[in-house]
Symmetry: C2
Subunit: 247 residues, 2 copies
DNA sequence: CGTATTATTGAATACCATCAACAGACGTGG
DNA sequence: CCACGTCTGTTGATGGTATTCAATAATACG
């Protein structure tokens, strides 16, 4: 199954696509730019060929030159400790921008890898920074994106520090459901792009715990799950269990 | 004891202080600005009277108007869940900037409270944003600050997700030690501005666990602790235990 | 079609939280 | 200055939640 891009009306943008034709223009960096400004941003963006599942977009420690907006597919970002264990820091869907944790150093702070076939827009940071000088809206949008990421990471700290396994999974499901809806996909039925293992890693749980909670949620009639296919049967209950704040 | 400002040569800046006279100029927002640019930044900064321990600098949900650079003292930031429980998202020392998680909304995303007598520089965001248009260095520094915060939050996610209680405390001690050294204070002897309770909350541990780890570390000759006074006896061992990455 | 990876389920263990009691620090007011 | 109450910190005993270990089942992949 060709994943997300086929689930709704989004056109999988071809290599030549421009920002103004992209269905994600209302969510992505160009948000609130006027037409001429969008063209300027468009000029500095490089559109590469698709990444296959498992391909790295960049690796922790590599020279930092660009940030990347996801056009289709899904990306996970992760950090590795000295001990070699990895911590997934985020799953990223179309319109989201990855790589911003590397801005203040000359190397990438995280690694980014495709979870499925994925296309991205590469945005050279030097040129983006120049452009941000001229376009106040763009500068604000950049700051907003980073601010939002800080807020989401802090919500994640809350989750990892205070929530039970059930609450973590519920929070995750409600959160990703909302993000799919924002992008025009079904909020109640979707295919998770990540494995149970990656989900557990991200949520601070063992794989087995993730599995157990999924089966328990099914027994309780909260969800139906068949591998990575998930349907939310009782979103309200999940939302309550998640403790409200999910986005 | 009048806390941090008396521990080394830093002059506790009076109300009239300007950025160019501030001992923190090499760590704070003005970093890498030239003299004239610093004056421009200086013009938009409001310097208020000190906050007493327990005073709120701002509260989650209040209108977002400014970010704040800490001049002396210490601040904790925290989020509260719908259930009313709080998660501390950071402890902040002089030269650090708080409030940036609220940039992309019109309300503050976290609350900020003084842990001891604290002075701050208020920086109205609208004017900072305007100034960022003219001063490329300032814009970069702002982006750098946010980028760094994202990285630190992600390291925190790693800690909360993967580390044991011992590793968490060791990581915290090594981290704050380095931050004190950066600011010209002793790296091996300091007074923690937060309670055991707050430390546990931040690190995802129960108060009792924090207490036990502190006593165990003392028995092992790693530290000496007397309430909030802490000496690092064997920093190398602590560093190893922390798993390297601490900043 | 066979192998490797991923997912599920069960049993035993470990780590930390919780509960409870006490000790010490702090601050207030007598 | 000391008595008092409150808050914070320490220590011990117990229990729960999630991990770990182990085995099997299902899925993906060449």
């Amino acid at each position: 199954m060709p994943a997300s891009t086929s689930q709704c009306g989004h056109k999988p943008s071809g290599l030549q696509t421009h920002c103004k034709d992209c269905s994600l223009v209302g969510l992505c960096l160009p948000l609130s730019l006027n037409v001429e400004d969008i063209d300027q941003l468009d000029d500095i963006i490089k559109r590469g060929r698709p990444l296959k599942k498992g391909d790295h977009l960049f690796r922790q420690g590599e020279p930092f030159q660009s940030v990347y907006a996801i056009r289709s597919g899904a990306i996970k970002t992760y950090v590795v400790t000295d001990a070699g264990e990895e911590q997934i820091t985020g799953f990223h869907l179309p319109s989201e921008v990855v790589g911003m944790a590397g801005i203040d150093s000359d190397t990438h702070a995280v690694s980014a890898v495709a979870l499925e076939t994925t296309t991205v827009c590469e945005i050279p940071y030097e040129r983006l920074d120049d452009l941000a000088m001229e376009l106040p809206q763009l500068r604000r949008q950049l700051m907003n994106l980073m601010s939002r990421e800080i807020r989401e990471d802090q919500q994640m700290m809350l989750l990892l520090s205070k929530k039970t396994a059930d609450e973590r999974i519920a929070t995750f499901l409600v959160n990703i459901s909302g993000r799919y809806r924002l992008r025009g996909f079904s909020a109640h039925h979707f295919r998770l792009p990540m494995s149970r293992n990656e989900l557990g890693n991200y949520l601070g749980l063992a794989v087995e715990t993730v599995s157990r909670v999924f089966t328990r949620f099914q027994e309780q009639g909260l969800i139906e799950a068949n591998g990575k296919e998930v349907s939310l049967i009782n979103p309200n209950e999940l939302y309550a269990m998640a403790g409200g704040r999910c986005e």
